[in-house]
Amino acid sequence: ETAVFQTPNYHVTQVGNEVSFNCKQTLGHDTMYWYKQDSKKLLKIMFSYNNKQLIVNETVPRRFSPQSSDKAHLNLRIKSVEPEDSAVYLCASSLRDWGYAEQFFGPGTRLTVL
């Protein structure tokens, strides 16, 4: 099956803990993204990688750090989570085509910070 896969589906944790989310795509794409979707459904890009290289790094708190081992994987680590980090984190991928390519989204990881 070719798609964007994310783990875990849900994660509940307490303020100050560290969490890691995984994303893998089997679509053969070379660009991957992390988005945050808040409770009001607003979608905001956080990071983008092309062939393991960081190409977009939006203004996000420094406790967020992406990690890419190869072009098919892009993980997200959050050190010392805060209540405002509660959201759905969506991973996406595309085939870089001067930016006009369709982005395919994974199912998301819902983070709840108590």
Binding site: I45, S48, N50, V56, Q103, F104, F105
Partner: protein, 113 residues
């Protein structure tokens, strides 16, 4: 800074009517405008997209109308069906070499049978 504005926040239409969703943008260098839809419990998925070389793009019941001069574009859903009920996001490519999309806040569309 809000670069893509979307309205209305929510829209209710009857089955068979045309739903019209609106977006505007600020930067005239943006040159790719996709619409994504997101069904409850699912992830966003591309519906239709347009580049400003055209002022109209059709795909079945879905049509984008684009006004470059006024920096506005809209999605028209003809013959709306209850299955069209979803959140619709317009977006603009704000980073041509990076694939960076900036999304509007979304329009929640409800189609009543």
């Amino acid at each position: 800074q809000q670069q893509v504005r979307q309205s209305p926040q929510s829209l209710t239409v009857w089955e068979g009517e045309t739903a019209i969703l609106n977006c505007s943008y600020e930067d005239s260098t943006f040159d790719y405008f996709p619409w994504y839809h997101q069904f409850p419990g699912e992830s966003p998925a591309l519906l239709i997209a347009i580049r400003p070389v055209s002022n109209k793009k059709e795909d079945g019941r879905f049509t984008i109308f684009f006004n470059k001069r006024e920096k506005k574009f809209s999605l028209h859903i003809a013959d709306s069906q209850p299955g069209d009920s979803a959140t619709y996001f317009c977006a603009a490519l704000t980073g041509a070499n990076t694939g960076k999309l900036t999304f509007g806040h979304g329009t929640i569309l409800r189609v009543h049978p």
